[in-house]
């Protein structure tokens, strides 16, 4: 329930007018339906007494016609208002979620080890519109209808009104609570089973070659279908409960029709109401119940939202406070990077991730960093970018500690990683992300430098070509070149190349590295790499192992003095 306080109520409060109108029109729509039945029942009973002139039933006739039309109009207005209000809320939630993710962008992958978390979160926000459209609005509208029905009855017969309140509460409260309980119980199981199916099948399709080779295909298919059957079985319990509940509630409505009928008959006999109202009251109970019955379905859905809300909450819990910028970035022109006896230990882990690193990188130096996975390359990079504060020692850029830069660090250091994202917009806009005020000439200039000009010229729209869905149109090498253009445009004094060539074939890799180094002659380049491509052009080569610097030196030094380096070099080059 605390999710309600955190994620539902604030928005309800913020958009209470819009929501209020939605519920009000929804209520009017259902009220029109009930009143259409009520007035037509009255009209027919009254006309059967054959009044002298039609004028005596003129008002009921007008009312019948009005309610016949108004229901559809109110319902239409309700739906438009409701969706508009909800889309406003979703816009707010998107901004809020974005803010939470933005503050921890560089840690999302490590903190939340799930497949496509970001896609899931975007979907979660979309799903939350159901909280309002399918749960809150129908529930409130149903309750208003209940209050109205009982209220009107109070003016006629308070005792019977009280009786009906109790009877209808069964439908408005007891059934929804039972439904919620049963749904929660079965839904958890259904969901777990469905999730397992998903994992099994994903695994199997990605590993289908292995299944085929293994000759165990039949075993998998049989196992999977058995699992699927039990998952369906869990869902079946829920669906069948839904069918049974509908039947029970409809039968209950029949009982209420009889009760109201009896009451109306007696009330007419006692002179409490005119006999012309018997049909009106008896028939009106059905549309009223039609408004109240959906509450069960609305309420039982609550557990569905919880999972989405849980995920969003988890993100917002780990939100980092932004660090205010304290440093005059403009003064940093030719920065010197220094690691002074730096050790870093992840909170809660035993050994240090990097240990006693001493390193000075002068401006314009080209440094390659190699090492197996887990050797400490990424930690070193995070320390340099000020995302981690050293447990011991100092990481400095000029005289400032790296972590004091906050997000301004990216005004000093650009990063080109393995999979730079290209947004679903034009190539031009993607490149312009490097510097918002870059002119088209400047952009054409960098495009020329990264060697994309000829390729773009072959495209009909040139720089204005859309990236298409996830940028299928451009190859890995071309995508890196687009990303490189951004960085050239940004023109920071430090450039970090974080394994930019993984997944590229050697020819593309060689060409790309060549282009990068050619264009980054003035900058400090920190090149994290897995191959020894163009290694001769680096001033310093560092091999990391278990958090420490294992080998350091220029290519010539290492090749001459270090047998291991020589062996790796010869392997890489097929010498």
């Amino acid at each position: 329930m605390n999710y309600t306080q955190q994620y539902i109520l604030p928005y309800v409060r913020k958009y209470k007018a819009a929501m209020g109108w939605t519920v009000f029109f929804g209520f009017l729509a259902l009220l029109s339906a009930a009143l259409l039945t009520f007035t037509s029942g009255y009209l027919i009973s009254r006309t059967s007494e054959r009044p002298e002139t039609i004028l005596l039933v003129y008002i009921p006739i007008v009312m019948v016609r009005t309610f016949g039309i108004s229901r559809s109009v109110f319902r239409y207005v309700e739906r438009l208002l409701g969706h508009n209000a909800v889309l406003k809320i979703l816009a707010d939630m998107r901004v809020k979620l974005y803010r939470a993710l933005e503050s921890q962008a560089l840690f999302i992958r490590e903190r939340f080890k799930t497949g496509d978390l970001l896609g899931t979160l975007a979907d979660d926000i979309e799903h939350l519109q159901d909280v309002y459209i399918r749960t809150i609005f129908p529930t409130l509208i149903g309750l208003m209808m209940l209050v109205f029905a009982i209220g009107s009855l109070l003016t006629v017969d308070p005792l019977f009104a009280f009786f009906m309140l109790v009877a209808m509460s069964v439908v408005a409260f007891v059934y929804p609570l039972i439904s919620l309980y049963l749904f929660k119980k079965h839904q958890t199981r259904a969901k777990t089973l469905h999730g397992q199916l998903y994992d099994t099948l994903t695994d199997a399709l990605f590993g289908i070659s292995d299944w085929i080779i293994s000759g165990r295909k039949k075993q998998f298919v049989d196992g999977f279908l058995t699992d699927a059957a039990s998952s369906v079985d869990a869902e079946r319990k829920l669906d069948e409960w839904n069918q049974t509940r509908t039947m029970q509630l409809q039968i209950f409505t029949g009982v209420l029709v009889i009760i109201v009928g009896f009451w109306a008959g007696n009330a007419a006999a006692d002179g409490l109401i005119a006999p012309t109202y018997i049909a009106a009251f008896t028939l009106a109970i059905m549309p009223i119940m039609e408004a109240i019955i959906p509450i069960s379905h609305a309420v039982e859905r609550i557990p569905v939202y919880e999972q989405s809300l849980q995920r969003i909450e988890k993100i917002e819990e780990t939100m980092n406070e932004p660090i205010p910028a304290q440093i005059d970035i403009a003064a940093i022109k030719q920065p010197v990077i220094s690691f002074e006896n730096v050790t870093f230990r992840y909170p809660g882990s035993e050994g240090p991730a990097v240990e006693q690193i001493d390193l000075t990188i002068r401006h314009g130096e080209k440094v390659a960093i190699l090492g197996k996975s887990g050797a400490g390359k990424s930690t070193l990079l995070q320390l340099l970018l000020g995302q981690f504060i050293p447990t011991e020692g100092h990481v400095r850029i000029d005289q400032y500690e790296a972590h004091q830069f906050g997000d301004d660090i990216f005004e000093v250091a650009s990063v080109l990683n393995q999979k730079p994202y290209l947004f679903a917009t034009s190539v031009l806009n993607n490149i312009r992300l490097g510097r918002a005020d870059a002119t088209e000439e400047e952009i054409e200039h960098v495009v020329e430098h990264v060697g994309l000009r000829a390729y773009l010229a072959t495209l009909e729209n040139g720089l204005h070509t859309q990236m298409e869905e996830s940028g299928q149109r451009f190859s890995g090498g071309e995508r890196q070149r687009i990303a490189l253009s951004r960085i050239l445009l940004k023109n920071d004094p430090i450039v970090v190349l974080d394994e930019p060539t993984v997944g590229l074939d050697p020819e593309t890799e060689r060409d790309l590295v060549h282009t990068m180094l050619e264009n980054l002659q003035q900058q400090t380049v920190i090149y994290i790499t897995h191959h020894l491509t163009a290694i001769e052009q680096m001033d310093t080569i560092i091999f990391m192992d278990e958090g420490k610097i294992d080998m350091i030196g220029s290519h010539e030094q290492l090749y001459e003095t270090n047998a291991r380096y020589r062996r790796l070099y010869e392997l890489d080059r097929a010498l």
Partner: protein, 571 residues
Amino acid sequence: MDKHLLQYEGSKKIMAIVGLLTVAQAVAIITQAIYLAKAITQMFHGEPFSVYMESFVLFFVAHLFRQLLQWAKERISYRFAIRVSEYERGRLIEKTFEIGPDIIGTHGSGNLITLALEGIPKYRKYVELFIPRFLSMALIPMILVVFILTQDVLSGVTLIIVMPILIVFLILIGLVSQKKVDEQMDSYRLLSRHFVDSLRGLVTLKFLGRSRSHERAIETVSNKYRIATNRALKYAFMSSFALDFFSSLSVALIAVELGMKLINGTILLEPALLVLILAPDYFLPVRELGNDFHATTDGKDAGEEIRKVLAMKAPEKSTEPMRIEEEGTFAFRGVSKYGDEGQLLLNDLHFTVGHQDKIGIVGLSGSGKSTLIRLLAGFTTFEEGQVQINNQSFSTLNNAEWHERLAYIPQHPTIFSTSVLNNLRFYEPDAPFEQVVQAAKTVGLYELIQSFPNQFEEKIGQGGRALSGGEEQRIALARTLLRQSDIMLFDEPTAHLDIETEHDIKEIIVPLLENHLVFFATHRMHWMKNMDRILVLDHGELVQFGTYEQLSQTEGKFREMLLASQKGGAA
């Protein structure tokens, strides 16, 4: 009527049963209305309790039947829907294995997963709703209106006239709104993608120093999206507006018309009430159909999607015994393979190798290396030529016996979401534990596994402990060690690894190659020194075939690639 639904076993019987129940239900609806109208009329005329009591009891009995019949219809259709959809799920999974990894790749494994897990329930929903809704629509209004005509001709005629008008309006509105929605689909899609695009690109935005300011863009675009959606919804909601409008307006018209007749004394109260009570039930089936419109169209689309996959052509399969004998040979005789768009992927390949030769395959990207390996693995077939094994000809390698003689190591081997032990035993689930330990030791994984909290029971893969690329390759190698294989296929197993890990993995792989027929496709030229002979591919053609010594000393593609590699991008 969806004719596909009739093709299932027992579906005609189900339709007949549900149809009969629907007719019975229509009778119950009429009976219920008759006695409710009677009870009210009796009370109106001040008749004694016992008289109207009887009417109410009969009303309730009819009402009870009506609801029970409804329940039974739903239950029967639901059970049938489960049976049908699970049957389709089984066929889908079978088919997936039949078409194999290549076609799965082009179709997108994500699509197939979504179809088998989300599409099937949608299809089930469709079958579940379609049968009772369709029959209700076809039977109930007709029966009711015939009965109403016997009570009051004018009301009956009104109802008969309104129905086609309503349906024409629904179709017109559907067409107009679809057109309006389609018109702005492009901008709509772009807007709706913007948020997820922003989240996925967050790290990049951060690196570019643009992430903070992008928040404003999220807000602006969200609002644009809202406005665009509202515009579309205005039309989308029109159909349910029309449904509501016509159905309640007709009830109102009938009520007023009956009122007039009552004043004139041309009808009595009881039949008038009866018609009034029945009128909403006349429209109920249409309104239900309208409410479930999206669920049914979604499900119908899913059904079509399923049929499309089931109709896919699976690669040719052979069941002949297939193995390379001692001192036998393996040869390609003019093998050609075409791509989806008819382009040549492999062109007229001829080569012969010995039963335990180690064959390197090199070539630039797109030269056909991977295609050749996948063809050798029998995941894909070829259109022309023959494969000869010990002088026996085959037109496909998609053969269960061949598969079981293979070890296949791709660039990214699959790590299944289960324990280390199950992963290692994947090909041989009954391998004794000591052998597994031995295999783990051979590939240098034993110490790592010992360091896991649950050791061999530690869960790896999706949702489990993450492994590095090198560790994944070791798992794949250990897997193949545990089973008897004659043929080893490698598709670029080390290019993505760091040079030190590549070095270590190579030390493990090289001894394993002995006594196997090996095909090793890679860009990493250093492997070629360990091969007996090398196939050099260029644009799908075999341009060179020889030993390392021969090829490295002759002018040609191989020497070109070797020199480029040795230069290594040095300026």
